[in-house]
């Protein structure tokens, strides 16, 4: 009886069938959008202590969907500000996943990144680390985490190697250096790494002295006097923008002109604040960092999208944060495309199997080792020229040749 009834074509069935067909025909765009675009949540410190860097990363994320779409990838982004606070980072990760995020990207700061990683591990949602240098991030055994960024040790090792290349390329005789670093968390960790790595790096110069300074100090004239007394060829600096400004001003006032001012892996010398405050005095400072490859097609596409979206900012200045944030999104989108699903474990397996040859930052293909670390990132020597960061080494990606020794402070325009 039931079977016979099922086979019967009633008016109610016809109406229901028509409604179902209409719904099916009317909704393919929605269905497509749901299945073809990966929902990525960006967790960034858009306010608080790391706000400047977080905002810079955000600028990269904003333009990413359009650029990725041009390469055949589809992502929808949502943004979560964790206020440079570890406790907030954990809460925001829970919130993002609760809101339906299928992959998380972040978080610029190591402590927050690990707080987010725990949530991702418990919820089985992949986390692609854009920027965070603490080595333990990929040493903790997290299965749902990969990092497309160098560890602090790698940053310094690459930096020292490039300084050696720089000296060889310019053939300038540099025999002594002073290492001047902020006495905050970042500065001290770089100091410890330097103490460990410099003796085994066989550099062509000696460090006469390591001098720490308080980044909160009103001026750094005492430290500059100390450096001046040692009269080194190179001043190696670990700074932030504010203290880098004080440092250069102190050198100019005391008429101390080293042959080179080089940062082996710290920010400060390429911030807009630095250029604004010092004008031509900002030029010729050098830093060794992972940098956007100016000759890569994807970098050029990213730069083209950046200009109209952020007319008040310069891609050349933002390219470190923008580039790594974009690449994290690229990794997620590419993995989603290959996996064909946003299921956590399958998406993570695809992320682990990433092999992207054409990307933004300088270095080899984006690949992850067993621990989820990309070891193919390479630093570049970047020099400020005409108030713009310019890649000067390695030669295959350089757009200018390095200038050493630095021209005198007086007479710069």
């Amino acid at each position: 009886m039931q079977n016979a009834h099922c086979g019967k074509l009633t008016r109610r069935r016809v109406v229901a069938g028509a409604a179902a067909a209409t719904a099916l025909l009317g909704s393919p765009a929605v269905v497509r959008a749901e299945t073809k675009a990966l929902k990525v949540a960006l967790l960034l410190p858009q306010s608080g202590y790391f706000a400047a860097a977080g905002q810079s990363c955000y600028r990269g994320a904003v333009i990413a969907p359009k650029v990725l779409a041009d390469y055949g990838y589809h992502v929808t982004l949502s943004y979560y500000d964790f206020e440079s606070n570890v406790a907030k980072a954990r809460i925001q990760a829970e919130r993002a996943i609760g809101d339906g995020a299928q992959c998380l990207v972040g978080a610029f700061e190591s402590g927050a990144t690990l707080a987010i990683a725990q949530v991702c591990e418990q919820r089985k949602v992949p986390l692609v680390v854009n920027i965070a240098a603490a080595p333990p991030i990929t040493e903790q055994g997290y299965k749902y985490l990969v990092r497309n960024f160098d560890t602090g040790g790698q940053l310094l090792t690459n930096g020292l190697r490039l300084i050696k290349d720089l000296i060889a390329a310019t053939k300038v005789d540099l025999t002594t250096a002073v290492f001047l670093h902020a006495n905050d968390t970042f500065g001290m960790s770089m100091r410890h790494a330097m103490d460990k790595l410099f003796p085994v790096s066989h550099m062509p110069f000696k460090i006469a002295e390591s001098i720490s300074f308080d980044p909160q100090a009103q001026d750094l004239s005492v430290e500059v006097t100390k450096v001046r007394a040692l009269n080194p060829d190179i001043v190696l600096v670990i700074t932030h923008a504010a203290d880098a400004i004080k440092l250069i001003r102190g050198m100019v006032m005391q008429r101390f002109e080293p042959k080179a001012i080089i940062s082996p892996g710290s920010p400060g010398l390429y911030d807009e604040e630095f250029f604004d405050a010092l004008g031509p005095l900002a030029d010729f400072s050098i830093y060794t960092l992972p940098w956007a490859n100016p000759k890569a097609q994807m970098t050029q596409a990213l730069e083209a999208a950046f200009k109209p979206a952020h007319p008040k900012y310069r891609f050349a200045v933002d390219s470190f944060n923008v580039g790594f944030t974009f690449e994290a999104l690229l990794i997620a989108a590419d993995s989603f495309k290959r996996a064909g699903t946003a299921n956590g474990s399958q998406l993570m397996a695809a992320i682990r199997a990433t092999d992207i040859a054409d990307h933004v930052m300088i270095g080899g293909p984006i690949k992850f080792d067993d621990k989820g670390q990309n070891n193919n990132i390479r630093s570049a020597v970047v020099q400020n020229r005409n108030r713009t960061p310019v890649v000067v080494l390695p030669p295959n990606v350089a757009t200018m040749t390095p200038v050493l020794p630095m021209p005198p402070w007086h007479g710069r325009t």
Partner: protein, 333 residues
Amino acid sequence: MIELWRSIGWRGQVPLAIALFALICAPVIADRYLLSVLTLILYLAYVGQAWNLMMGYAGQLSLGHALYVGLGGYVAALLWLDFGVGPWLSVFPAIAVGALFGAAIGWLGFRFHIEGVYFALLTIAFAEFTRIACDNLAFTGGSAGLFMPYVEKLAGEWWNLRGGQLLFYYLALLLAAAAIVLTAHLAHSRLGYYWLAVREDERAARTLGINSFRAKMTAVLISSGMTAVGGVFYAFYYNTLFPSQVFDTNQSIELILAPLIGGLGTVFGPIVGAFLLTPVGETLTTLAERLGVNLPGTKQVFYGLTLMVIITLRPTGVWPWMARVLGFGNRAS
């Protein structure tokens, strides 16, 4: 305790029982995001209560209370990492170390009559030099931080605090409830009355035969020990410790906001303050996102303004006013 329970009357007992029941049952209806917010609220209520004992009852202003969170966290984390000692055991040395530092600060302050803002500066100084020490000591991980490894096979071992959100939620609830019970007990003990006497007029208290040095030292020892327990929770919940974060003055300020807003020297003030502050912060975050506001610091400005409004309207805190409006017994507030 039974006497205290009776003293708050049915008007207090009913909402208190309902609130406790709701918190116990919260995981049934709350999603993980809400649960993580509640965990943070309860944690802040707990450490706020610890600070409240020292400032609210004994009148000793500490602006470096993050010191004890950091010490508790580092002791427990190091014992776990280096010797495999679980948090249920390491909490005792954590309390001891926290109390030891508290004793040093208290002795220096009270022995040499460093009072008021100068005592507050002393607490900040201790927090700062401990931060600098941890930044430079190799065995604490230095400025690069201390990380608790994620070991999959240990996941779910509640006795090692290697569990998920639910475990930490109930632990935070237990800590907050225990802090309320302890505070209520102490507030109505002889020691509690000594504290109040010292807070109101130390010279008069001494004239009455109260050993003010001992009373203040006891407040500092209990408060620092309790806060160190919060540090153990922090270390195992977040699994990372950076000196620049755990000992930071901002962290100290965050710890004291709940009792300040809720009501100093009250049993329920810190928990009411925590339940006001964190949701206000989360609501402002959501509101800013919904309105598409992405100006850095906007939320913080509104948060600050909200706090100013609350403090202006209720200068003695929200809880004393609430207790009065709801007709709770005097002892409850």
